[in-house]
């Protein structure tokens, strides 16, 4: 079964710090690598996504770094804020519509 492995399971960061979440995948036939953000009581929502032919994508304080040879990608949250406290899921998108999600990271940003 194709997998996406995500770490750490939980993360505590001080306000203003950098949050880093890592993912690794096992299959090369993925078209996109999105990250989803989920607040308590809500469904996940797309945060940012990257194609495998791009090494980095930045949107505001959120950056995806992608290493195709290592089959790894990571989410960096710069200047982390208490409002960023949420669960983050990485995912890999297969042609045909399926997303394969990582296990999730519960981020807590302390004031």
């Amino acid at each position: 079964q194709q997998q996406v492995k995500q770490s750490p399971q939980s993360l505590i960061v001080q306000k203003g710090g950098i949050s880093i979440i890592n993912c690794a995948y096992e299959n090369t036939a993925f078209d996109y690598f999105p990250w989803y953000q989920q607040f308590p009581g809500k469904g996940p929502a797309l945060l940012i996504a990257i194609r495998p032919d791009v090494s980095e994508k930045k949107e505001g304080r959120f950056t995806i770094s992608f290493n195709k040879s290592a089959k790894q990608f990571s989410l960096h949250i710069m200047d982390s804020q208490p409002g960023d406290s949420a669960t983050y899921f990485c995912a890999a998108y297969k042609p045909g519509g399926k997303l394969i999600f990582g296990q999730g990271t519960e981020l807590s940003v302390k004031p």
């Binding site: 078209d31 996109y32 999105p34 469904g43 797309l46 899921f89 998108y93 519509g97 999600f101 296990q103």
Partner: protein, 114 residues
Amino acid sequence: DVKVTQSSRYLVKRTGEKVFLECVQDMDHENMFWYRQDPGLGLRLIYFSYDVKMKEKGDIPEGYSVSREKKERFSLILESASTNQTSMYLCASSLSGVSSYEQYFGPGTRLTVT
């Protein structure tokens, strides 16, 4: 804004009961999905549908079935609920084609089977 609604936020059922979870989306999306979310396991795909009356098994279809009679509605059925089906169930929808990595999720139904 895309809206995905689920029929219940919380549901408590007894072992052996037949359970229906309903999902409706209002953006004319072709694809619809059912996931279950469990701590430490992420989101796991149960079933998905890319068109009316079409369905495909996901990674964990055992004990579940689905129905899609109309484009906007996708139902998940637990034929005989068991305690190991206690979980958060999330419905999602997306367009088909290159942008279908962007899925829109409902708020979830927390199902407890006793």
